[in-house]
């Protein structure tokens, strides 16, 4: 078992990162499953991280309370800005949420209490591996239940054809707001967990690049199910570590993989339909 503890002491932050990134990829998958291309989740993650870290550092709140606050604060904000923002659609929504993310980043960069560009230092590492595993499992369980519920089916209908959904009497705006807020909730939780194992947070981690990274993970893995985003998040987190020997060139591999997947696997790496079709074909071959 010595190798296991060696492995853990070297790679535990990597495993933590996979868990947090998986939650983030799932948070954008929810909004995508309702047909919304929102790029605000990095900002929501940042708000969760800063709110929770500040409550820990200044008020000394206990960890569970801090987590709850870091989860609810971005969700409340999403509820507030959701109504006006979600009137936009497609590219315009993507741009508006990007602009929102930049506003949040620049505000955090300039406030006294958030430590400005230096960020916050010395956050106690309260997050443990099982916390992340537990919350990731809860998220997945919740989303599986959601997908099979009336609300999940409504999301799908809105994604496929918004006008038809509205004509059938569905509360399209309400469902969109719900998806947007739920995404913010999960992103906030991921941010709060992340802040309490990295020791240090800064505004740089929650900007444009992170927003794009989160989207990339989900799309790379495939957004038609829940396994896809988790797979994409794991791959994009592990890959730079595996490719460390390539030094400055290692990100080029990330970029190339992204392009190849977009070109040749339009539905992402994990597509339940493709896998099912493949299994069916295999079974038929076995019979024959």
């Amino acid at each position: 078992m010595a190798w296991l503890s060696d492995f853990w002491s070297t790679y535990n932050t990597l495993v933590y990162s996979i868990g947090v990134h998986a939650m983030l990829a799932l948070s954008i998958q929810i909004t995508l499953s309702c047909g919304l291309l929102s790029l605000a989740n990095a900002a929501f993650m940042g708000i969760g991280a800063y709110v929770s870290a500040l409550l820990t550092l200044t008020l000394g709140w206990p960890f569970p309370a801090v987590l709850a606050a870091g989860t609810l604060a971005p969700a409340l904000l999403a509820l507030l800005i959701g109504a006006p923002v979600l009137r936009l659609s497609g590219v315009y929504l993507a741009m508006a949420t990007l602009a929102f993310g930049e506003v949040v980043r620049v505000i955090v960069l300039n406030l006294e209490i958030t430590g400005g560009p230096e960020g916050l230092n010395g956050i106690p590492p309260s997050t443990e591996g099982w916390h992340i595993a537990l919350f990731l499992a809860l998220t997945v369980y919740g989303l599986v239940r959601l997908a099979r519920s009336r609300v999940g089916r409504a999301f799908e209908a809105i994604k496929e054809d918004e006008v038809a959904a509205r004509l059938m009497g569905m509360d399209v705006d309400g469902h969109k707001l719900f998806a947007f807020t739920l995404g913010a909730l999960i992103a906030g939780l991921a941010g709060a967990l992340n802040a309490h194992y990295t020791f240090f947070i800064s505004p740089r981690e929650y900007g444009f690049e992170s927003a794009v990274d989160i989207l990339t993970m989900a799309v790379l893995g495939g957004t038609s199910g829940l396994l896809g985003p988790i797979l994409g998040a794991s791959l994009l987190t592990v890959l730079p570590e595996v490719l460390r020997f390539l030094q400055d060139w290692r990100m080029a591999v990330n970029g190339a993989i992204l392009i190849l997947v977009v070109l040749f696997l339009p539905t992402g790496l994990w597509d339940p339909h493709r896998v099912r079709a493949w299994l069916r074909r295999k079974r038929r071959e076995e019979k024959a």
Partner: protein
Amino acid sequence: MFAQQLANALTLGSVYALFALGFTLVFGVLAVINLSHGAVFMVGSYAALVLVTRFQAPLWLALIGAMLVSGGIGLLVDVLILKPLRARNAPHLIPMIATIGVAIMLTSAGQGLFGAEIHRFPEETLPAGELVIAGIHLRALEIGIVAVAFALMALLFVVLRRTQLGRALRAIAESPKAAYLLGINVEGLFHLTSFVAAALGGVAGVLIGLDFNAITPQMGQPILHKGIAVIILGGMGDIRGALIGGLFLGFAEVMSKAYLSSQMGDAVAFGLLFLILLVRPSGLFGRVLERKA
């Protein structure tokens, strides 16, 4: 003092406008948010640097070389990546993600080839001299930058407004399908647009590289954010909007750096953008184009 800042703002704003013009051209004609435009901008400035330092090319030749190199990359991206995506009618999110991949690859290649450190044009290759008009000091370099940027933009305006080619491009911007039915070579013009847009981005890269005399693999990121800001402000796909938006952003940036804290200026700018999007999603000049085909 104010007049001096105005001159600086004009220099910066004209380059922003040039950059945003390529960005908005691709969005208008191809309906793709090309997130590799910032990386192509970076490639342009490295190409000019290599031509100047390694091949002792004069600056004007380096400018043309950089245009061809970055334009070539834009063309390659269109032929190899965007064209197959168009052929299978991928939703607009997909080409955008592909261009993220391109941006990552180019930035990483820049870092691999040249390292992460700052490169500079040798001092003797920069145009020296200064023009003093009514107490305002204008560097010859700045005058050159503004002249090149405006000359290229004027050329583009004339082509778009006055020629058969421009009419064809505007027809595609309205509806590629209708343009195709009218006998316009839509695919060819998509390639041409990608080339021209990337070439403009590359020139903007050289001009910024000269203005600040600092070239790094990461230099495409901040300008990409600004480009996004400009096309939101001016209306996505709107050429005139990109020009006015670029100048406005250059002006806002220089003035807020001079008279406010530099960072709060960004917050105001992006806050304003966010509001504009909520009130007028089409930007100040644009119309919302919901293209179905």
